[in-house]
Symmetry: C2
Subunit: 212 residues, 2 copies
């Protein structure tokens, strides 16, 4: 299994999860499942992966905690008076973990997003599920800082960081000296860049690293 | 003295430094100076503060390390073959620290921005100068994650975080439940929100916290 997190909200976690899922399922014939423990602001991410991987589970199994407001989970849960129940998440996790040979788990926002006000963060959920993590990062100015901070946070909690995938969203050509940015992340973060995604059909990802 | 850092590049460090500097100098008659140890991509930040505070030092005293390329300092320095010299920074720092009663030091990018490839980061510069820090954050979705990561990184290096200033850049009204976002930063980050800046003339900042 792998936990797909990111350096920010909107950095492309779902987009990258979809590319990985479709590759593993349709190109490597691995029985691949998906879990979105928490989604706020709709059900789009879960529906996207359900369709892409042709999963037969109901949406509420794939996404046990769904919140209407596009906010940090702790805030959305408070506003909607819907306390987040880790047991519900664990139930879906156990069910999907047993059914599939490889499980993609997608976070919500970044690693320090609070799930509860008492500082139970997204990273604590990764520890709770016992998954290694992959970080989806942007290619442009500011990504080094956010990626190094995210790596540091995950490692402080003993989470294995399998690597970074740079999601370029078609803008790699406009990024000055991006190779040096990736080299800096690699050297200063002591982490491997295991993928660069230009768009849905143009990507270079080390899938062995993900499933190994 | 205070080191003004931020959760990202372009989050408003210079804008907030200017508000703080002008208030301390012109409203509290504190002999206030400014140091921008490293600026890449031009000299705009330094020139802005030199003018705002009517400082008579040359730009290269206020900004000892200036790099042309708008990139992470380690990359800009490499491309311009201009290794970053901490001694130059210390010289300016010592000169300005002695001359002024209060020194505002502004970082470049976020706290984990590499100054050198060997992982000498912006936060190491803060330690090197022995300054407490203030974090400038955005008000919108994603700011909780970046602010908590930045606080964690600074505290891991023993740096005193005096507080967070939210720079709203006129968009507070469009941010859903922003009070709960600020409450979350306060509670989960165990940090005080010491200022909210709506625009250059509308702000609420606890200046005693900054100079205290």
């Amino acid at each position: 299994m792998i936990f797909i997190t990111g350096t920010d909200t909107g950095v492309g976690k779902t987009f990258v999860s979809k590319i990985i899922g479709k590759h593993l399922k349709y190109k490597e014939n691995i029985n691949t499942g998906y879990l979105k423990p928490i989604e706020s602001g709709g059900i789009e991410d879960t529906a996207t992966l359900k369709e892409a991987l042709n999963l037969d589970e109901n949406l509420n199994i794939l996404n046990p905690v769904n919140l209407k407001n596009p906010l940090s989970p702790n805030i959305a849960a408070e506003i909607e008076n819907k306390p987040i129940d880790l047991v519900e998440i664990k139930k879906s996790f156990d069910l999907l973990k047993n059914k599939y040979d490889f499980l993609i788990i997608e976070g919500a926002g970044g690693v320090a997003v609070p799930i509860k006000y008492n500082s139970f963060l997204m990273s604590d959920l990764i520890v709770y599920l016992g998954a290694p993590a992959i970080i989806v990062s942007r290619p442009d100015l500011g990504t080094i800082n956010h990626t190094l901070l995210t790596i540091e946070h995950l490692r402080n909690k003993g989470i294995l960081v399998k690597g970074v995938i740079i999601n370029c969203i078609n803008e790699l050509d406009t990024v000055l000296h991006y190779e040096k940015t990736f080299e800096t992340i690699n050297r200063c973060g002591n982490v491997e860049i295991i993928g660069i995604v230009k768009n849905e059909n143009e990507y270079n990802i080390n899938f062995d690293k993900i499933i190994g």
